[in-house]
């Protein structure tokens, strides 16, 4: 035990001797978190809408003012020429174009169908679909009003309607900060631990100082533990500072147990650091390690469901996430912080994370050779 404590002390000295790294491991994640969290949102507002109004009737004007009043659209271009409108779409001046043909007024009052044309810039398929859904919603409402006006004779019951109300649970205002903050924090903490822990070990190999440790009676598990614990502590401190800052600046909620959250984070870090040390045992230069670490980190992060929904991934990707510690952590964080889930709700994810940590750690211990 005392050996490990000495080794840990040595590691801390080594980390903080580099003044830049010593400051950066705390400053970089906190600054990036504060700066980046408010930036990230999928909320769609101010869709730039171009309008070609060939009808110029009270009906078409009514439709346009409804679109403006819906709060989703900003009418940026108003023209009679199709060519000009397409040009605007091409140059990103508007995101979608509504083409109202001649005769909208006549046709609707006489009960005939009148097609209107909508063109959407669909390079970003999600935004395109959502914008289209909003426009369609306004059109639907408009249609119902026309039907009601025209059909004065029919009673209401002859035109049954099902109304939908939406409720967003656990995050009523769809605040993206609540969702992004824990994720971004976890990414930064992981990046730091993953990079520095591995680089530290490889650096000892590269400069030859690992020989000095290999000739001592230090056991393999002691060495690996001592390499892990400092970064685990740094990671947890980073996390605590980040959460306090998040609470102060963005008022993020903590509905569940904070202790459980830190316990999960500690297990997660053990797993990730174990993997880092495992990789570092078969890289001979820092450059090699860095590229492999970069590769794994990017995969873990982008497949964890933090930026894109897990439900949109193909099945094989979801299967892969069984061995992705980041995916479990994201899920656990959101469950604890936003839903207030108790241990029983996330037991499965908890145990999976624990198994991963044990596996990665023992791999690192086994693969580490004291002989050169």
């Amino acid at each position: 035990m005392r050996t490990i404590l000495y080794l840990i002390r040595k590691e801390f000295l080594q980390i903080f001797r580099d003044k830049f790294i010593g400051k950066a491991i705390f400053a970089v994640p906190l600054v990036q978190m504060v700066l980046l969290v408010p930036a990230v949102t999928f909320e769609i507002k101010n869709i730039n809408l171009g309008i070609i109004d060939r009808d110029m009737s009270p009906v078409s004007r009514n439709l346009i003012s409804r679109l403006e009043g819906s709060g989703f659209f900003k009418i940026t271009c108003f023209t009679h020429s199709e060519e000009e409108a397409n040009n605007m779409l091409h140059r990103n001046r508007c995101d979608m174009i509504l083409h109202i043909p001649e005769g909208l007024d006549e046709k609707t009052t006489s009960g005939q169908v009148c097609p209107v044309m909508v063109s959407v810039n669909a390079i970003n398929a999600t935004t395109a679909q959502l914008s289209w859904a909003y426009l369609n919603g306004v059109l639907q409402d408009y249609n119902i009003d026309i039907i009601r006006q025209n059909a004065a004779v029919t009673t209401l019951s002859a035109m049954p309607q099902i109304k939908v109300t939406n409720r967003y649970w656990y995050n009523e205002l769809l605040n993206y900060k609540y969702y992004m903050l824990p994720g971004i924090l976890a990414i930064l903490v992981t990046a730091i631990g993953f990079l520095l822990a591995g680089l530290n070990l490889v650096k000892e190999k590269e400069t030859g100082t690992i020989e000095q440790i290999n000739v001592t009676p230090i056991k393999k598990y002691q060495f690996i533990t001592a390499k892990t614990i400092p970064f685990m502590i740094i990671g947890l401190v980073d996390l605590a500072l980040g959460l306090i800052l998040g609470k102060i600046l963005f008022d993020i909620p903590f509905r569940g147990s904070i202790g459980l959250m830190f316990l999960c984070s500690a297990i997660f870090l053990a797993g990730v650091l174990g993997l880092a040390l495992f990789i570092s045992t078969f890289s001979s230069t820092q450059q090699q390690y860095m590229f492999i670490a970069f590769f794994f980190m990017i995969i873990f992060i982008l497949m964890s469901g933090i930026f894109t929904p897990m439900d949109s991934m193909p099945l094989w990707a979801r299967k892969f996430d069984i061995i992705n510690p980041m995916a479990y952590l994201m899920k656990i964080y959101r469950m604890i912080m936003l839903k207030g889930s108790a241990f029983s709700d996330l037991a499965r994810d908890f145990y999976s994370l624990l198994i991963l940590a044990v596996v990665f750690m023992s791999l690192a211990v086994r693969k580490y050779r004291k002989t050169a």
Binding site: G111, N124, P160, R167, Y168, Q286, M303
Partner: protein, 369 residues
């Protein structure tokens, strides 16, 4: 000149000697483009939803069938009471619960109007919005059919939609350019910053500095091999996105390659700048990886559209190079526009490159400390 060529040769030898790094250098972008092209998407498929149907009539049955027969949703459970909603959402098994009240069927017949609600788990706001939209669209379709059947009232203003540039609404069109941009800047910045700090850390920089090579030659010689390797990488990636994702190059291929060279050059000079401010490899790696990774993912328009961001960030993003390259390749590849639509972005990237180069030449120390 001969001296300089000798130096470049030395750099190439350095790179080829470490074959493992070389394999990663080409394998990494290829693997990541392949993985993320398939994985990163925003469409919801087979999201688990639960139903709380207290009315249990013909209409509610039809609506739930209609929802489950779509590709978006998969029924995980029929709930019995309001209390169950919280239970199933907390475990995360269902992302949404569709609720029909007790009076649903009666209201629909007697009043001609009935309420249902879609409760979504908004701890993932994006998924929640998408699910709500899909589900509402299904109900609205159902409404239309139902109304037409019962009263013959037809929709009069019927919209026809055309999705420009990406008629099949594939998310590759958005994400493949993003992945290319992201990977190129990180790899280029990492490689150059490491190769220079490595010489510093091992003390071999001293050998170079006392040699008759000028500092500008040293830097140029360091960057040249990586420029060539990165360009090969670009060709590989473009070929791959053509074969695997059917991503078109509608505009001029020549222009696209020229712009890519500019972007590589910009990333490499950023790497040089990083190397001049860091003393050890660890510092260089820290700055280029931890410093660049998240801003590049989040503030380039790769996943999150820049237009939606608060105003301030739109301004911040003006200072980050990736957004310009993303715009350029999207314009050239997908929209097929020419140089005139991207001249502004090109100009900005050029200015940034020059800025980085000038700054690093001024910061480059020819004396040891």
């Amino acid at each position: 000149m001969k001296r300089f060529l000798g130096f470049v040769k030395k750099e190439f030898l350095h790179i080829f000697r470490d074959y493992r790094t070389l394999v990663i250098l080409f394998g990494l972008p290829v693997a990541e483009i392949l993985i993320f092209g398939f994985v990163i998407s925003m469409e919801i498929k087979d999201a688990g939803i639960a139903f709380l149907d207290l009315s249990k009539d013909d209409v509610t049955q039809k609506i739930s069938d209609k929802m489950c027969s779509s590709d978006f949703f998969r029924k995980v459970e029929d709930l019995e009471s309001y209390h169950d909603i919280d239970m199933i959402m907390k475990t995360g098994r269902a992302k949404a619960v569709i609720v029909f009240g007790e009076d649903f069927g009666r209201d629909l017949i007697s009043r001609g109007e009935a309420d249902m609600s879609i409760i979504t788990d908004a701890s993932e706001p994006n998924t929640a919005t998408l699910i709500t939209n899909y589900a509402s669209a299904i109900v609205s379709d159902f409404n239309m059919e139902y109304r037409e059947k019962n009263s013959g009232a037809k929709i009069l203003v019927s919209p026809e939609v055309r999705m420009f540039y990406n008629p099949e609404l594939r998310s590759h069109f958005m994400f493949v350019p993003g992945v290319i941009t992201f990977i190129l800047i990180l790899i280029c910045a990492l490689m150059t910053s490491i190769t220079i700090t490595r010489e510093k850390e091992f003390g071999t920089m001293e050998v170079l500095l006392v040699s008759p090579l000028k500092p500008s030659h040293i830097i140029l010689g360091k960057v040249m091999p990586y420029f060539i390797l990165s360009f090969i990488n670009v060709l590989l990636i473009l070929l791959l996105s053509r074969i695997a994702f059917d991503l078109p190059v509608k505009g001029s291929l020549f222009l696209l390659l020229a712009e890519s060279m500019l972007y590589i050059l910009m990333s490499l000079s950023l790497g040089i700048l990083i190397s001049t401010v860091s003393k050890t490899m660890q510092q260089a790696i820290f700055i280029s990886l931890v410093g660049l990774m998240l801003p590049t993912i989040l503030l380039s328009g790769f996943i999150f559209p820049l237009e939606n961001m608060p105003r301030v960030y739109d301004v911040v993003a003006y200072f980050l190079p990736p957004r310009y390259y993303i715009t350029i390749i999207k314009n050239i590849m997908i929209k097929g526009t020419g140089f005139f639509s991207v001249w502004k972005e090109t100009l900005i990237l050029t200015i940034m490159t020059l800025f980085f180069i000038v700054l690093s030449v001024r910061k480059f120390k020819i004396r040891l400390q």
